[in-house]
C-alpha cells in the first residue's frame, strides 16, 4: 500500500510569533515494503510529516494519498487509514491506560468487527512479536511493567491492527544499547515480512545499519532522499547539517586520508570490517 505526499504544505496558521514547524511543498512517494529513515533537526518538519501521513494533521495545501486515495477527501473511509497505517509516537509507553496488558493491546481492535477469538489471536501474535510470552503477560497491569516492557506493550497495541505501514517517532530514545539493538532487529524483521517502515531517528549509526532509504528534512523541505549508502556517503553535507555521520563512515574516511584507501560507500560497522579485512588480507600493500 504505497503512500504519497503530493505538493504538501503545512503551516500552523494560528498566527503566533512562534511558528515552529511547517512543511513546504513536499512531494514524496514511499512504496510497499520500504524501510525509510527520516532525519533532520528538531523543528525541521519531520514530526509534522509523519502526522500528515498518519492523517492526524490535515495539509494546508496538497494531498496525502494512501493507495492512490486522498485520505483527507470528503467521503474517504478513515477506518481504512487507521487499519493500514500505525504510528508509534515518542515514548509510546505514556499512552497505556487499561487495567491489563491484553485489554490495552486489544484497544485498537475494538471497532475492527473481529470476533473475540480473532481479537485474542491478534493480541497474542502482537505480544509474541514484541518478545513477550502471552500467557504470562496478558493479565498484568501495564503500569507495573518496567519502562522498556511498557514500550513494547504499547507498540504491540499498534501492531495488533496489523498495519501495512508502521511509522515510528524516535523509537529507540531512552533505550539502553542492548534494548536498542533488540528493538531495531525487531522492526527490521517486521520489514522483512513486508511491512513498510518509516522511522524518525537521530541515531546515524543505527539508521546506517538498518534503514534502506534515508530522507533528510531541513526547515520544512525535503533536501536529501536516496539509498542509505548514498546519503551517508555525503559526509560533508551531513556534517553541515549537524546530523552526525555514521562512525564507521567517519573511520573509513580517516583511513582513506592516511593513504589506506577505503571504498567510498561504507556506512555500517560490518562493511567497514570486511573492507579492512579485504585490504589487509586480500589486497596487499600499495
Amino acid at each position: 500500500m504505497p503512500v504519497e505526499l503530493e505538493n504538501v504544505s503545512y503551516t500552523y496558521a494560528s498566527g503566533t510569533p512562534y511558528e515552529t514547524e511547517a512543511l513546504e511543498n513536499m512531494s514524496l512517494k514511499i512504496k510497499d515494503g520500504e524501510f525509510v529513515g527520516v532525519m533532520g533537526h528538531t523543528g525541521c518538519g519531520k514530526s509534522t510529516m509523519i502526522q500528515l501521513i498518519a492523517g492526524l494533521l490535515v495539509p494546508s495545501e496538497g494531498k496525502v494519498l494512501l493507495d492512490g486515495n486522498d485520505i483527507n477527501a470528503k467521503g474517504y473511509d478513515r477506518s481504512v487509514l487507521r487499519r493500514n497505517v500505525g504510528i508509534v509516537f515518542q515514548y509510546p509507553e505514556y499512552q497505556l491506560f487499561e487495567t491489563t496488558v491484553e485489554k490495552d493491546v486489544a484497544f485498537g481492535l475494538k471497532h475492527s468487527g473481529l470476533d473475540r477469538g480473532e481479537v485474542s489471536e491478534r493480541v497474542r501474535w502482537a505480544l509474541e512479536i514484541m518478545g513477550f510470552s502471552f500467557d504470562s503477560i496478558r493479565n498484568q497491569s501495564p503500569l507495573s511493567l518496567s519502562g522498556g516492557e511498557k514500550r513494547r506493550v504499547a507498540i504491540a497495541g499498534v501492531l495488533a491492527v496489523r498495519p501495512k505501514i508502521v511509522i515510528f517517532d524516535e523509537p529507540i530514545a531512552g533505550l539502553d544499547p542492548l534494548g536498542r539493538e533488540a528493538f531495531l532487529k525487531l522492526i527490521s524483521d517486521l520489514n522483512e515480512d513486508g511491512t513498510t517502515i518509516i522511522t524518525v531517528s537521530h541515531n546515524a549509526d543505527s539508521m546506517a545499519e538498518y534503514a534502506k532509504r534515508i530522507i533528510v528534512l531541513d526547515s520544512g523541505r525535503l533536501i536529501m532522499d536516496g539509498k542509505t549508502r548514498d546519503v551517508f556517503s555525503d559526509v560533508k553535507r551531513m556534517e553541515e547539517l549537524r546530523l552526525g555521520v555514521s562512525q564507521p563512515r567517519l573511520i573509513a574516511d580517516m583511513l582513506s586520508k592516511r593513504g589506506f584507501e577505503m571504498p567510498r560507500d561504507i556506512v555500517s560497522c560490518g562493511e567497514l570490517v570486511s573492507a579492512i579485512k579485504e585490504r589487509l588480507i586480500g589486497g596487499g600493500c600499495p
Binding site: T16, R82, I87, Y94, Q95, F107, G108, K110, H111
Partner: protein
C-alpha cells in the same frame, strides 16, 4: 509543538508588563467585578473598550492572547443559543414546541457570551504579562492576612505558580496522547456523543499518570535544589508601589465604581 499555549508568560516591556504584580492582581480583581457588574449597553461598551485598550497597550500577539476564546467558539455558540431560545420573555419573535426566540433572549445570550469572553481576555492579559514568580510573590503578599488563620501562604502561592508553569507541557502532552489514541482507533473525530464519551478514559488516564509522574520528578528536582518549604527563601524585594501601579489601581477602581453606580 503546535502553538504557544494560552496563558503562558510572554516576555515584553510594555507598560502593562511593568506594573507591579500586586497592583496588577488587584486591578484584575476590580476589573472582573466591573465586568460582572456591567449591565447597560454603555457599561459593556466601557469595559469592552477598556479590555481592548489593555490588549493593545500590552502588545501581546492577539492570536495567542485570545486563542482560548477562539478555541471555545462552539461553547460560546451553544451558550448563546440556549439563552436566545429558552429565555422567558413576554413576546417571542417566534416560538415552537419548547423553543421561544425573543429579543430579550438574544440580548441575554450576547450578554453572557460577552461577559465570559471579557473575563477570559482579562485573565490572558494578566497571565501573559506576569512571570509566575512575580505572580507567586504577589499572591503571597495579598494572601498575607490569611496567615492569621494559619494558612501556609508561601506554600500555597508556590504550588499555584508551579502548576501554572506546567500547563503548557501538559497541554502538549494531551495533544500527543489524543493523536496516539486516535491513530489506535479512538474515535475523537466522530461526531457521535457516545463515541466521544468512549474516548474520555483513554485520554484522561494517561494524562493523570503522566501528570503524577511529572509532579514526582519535579518535586525531586526541587528538593535536590535545596527547597525545604517556601518559608525560608530569599524574600523578594519589597518595592513600594510606584505611581504607575497606583494609577492602574485607581483606573480599575474607577471603572468598577462607575459600573456600580450605573447599575
Amino acid at each position: 509543538m503546535s502553538r504557544l499555549p494560552t496563558g503562558q508568560y510572554i516576555y515584553g516591556e510594555s507598560p502593562i508588563h511593568l506594573i507591579d504584580a500586586r497592583a496588577k492582581l488587584l486591578s484584575f480583581i476590580l476589573l472582573i467585578a466591573a465586568v460582572v457588574l456591567a449591565s447597560s449597553f454603555a457599561g459593556y461598551a466601557a469595559v469592552f473598550c477598556f479590555t481592548a485598550a489593555l490588549l493593545w497597550i500590552s502588545r501581546l500577539p492577539l492570536g495567542t492572547a485570545l486563542g482560548a476564546i477562539r478555541r471555545l467558539w462552539l461553547f460560546f455558540f451553544v451558550i448563546f443559543l440556549m439563552n436566545a431560545f429558552f429565555f422567558e420573555a413576554e413576546n417571542p419573535i417566534f416560538s415552537w414546541w419548547i423553543f421561544r426566540l425573543s429579543y430579550g433572549g438574544i440580548a441575554q445570550g450576547a450578554n453572557v457570551v460577552l461577559r465570559v469572553a471579557l473575563l477570559m481576555a482579562l485573565s490572558s492579559v494578566l497571565t501573559c504579562t506576569t512571570t509566575p514568580m512575580d505572580m507567586t510573590s504577589a499572591l503571597q503578599s495579598l494572601m498575607k492576612p490569611l496567615k492569621i488563620i494559619r494558612v501556609p501562604v508561601e506554600d500555597v502561592a508556590m504550588i499555584i505558580s508551579v502548576a501554572i508553569q506546567f500547563i503548557p507541557t501538559l497541554l502538549e502532552e494531551t495533544d500527543m496522547i489524543k493523536k496516539a489514541q486516535t491513530a489506535r482507533g479512538a474515535r475523537f473525530e466522530s461526531r457521535s456523543l457516545r463515541h466521544k464519551a468512549e474516548c474520555v478514559i483513554p485520554l484522561v488516564i494517561p494524562i493523570f499518570i503522566s501528570a503524577f509522574r511529572r509532579a514526582d520528578e519535579l518535586s525531586t528536582a526541587m528538593e535536590a535544589r535545596g527547597y525545604r518549604g517556601a518559608k525560608n527563601r530569599t524574600k523578594r524585594k519589597k518595592e513600594p508601589l510606584k505611581a504607575r501601579d497606583l494609577a492602574a489601581l485607581f483606573i480599575s477602581a474607577a471603572i468598577c465604581a462607575v459600573q456600580f453606580c450605573f447599575r
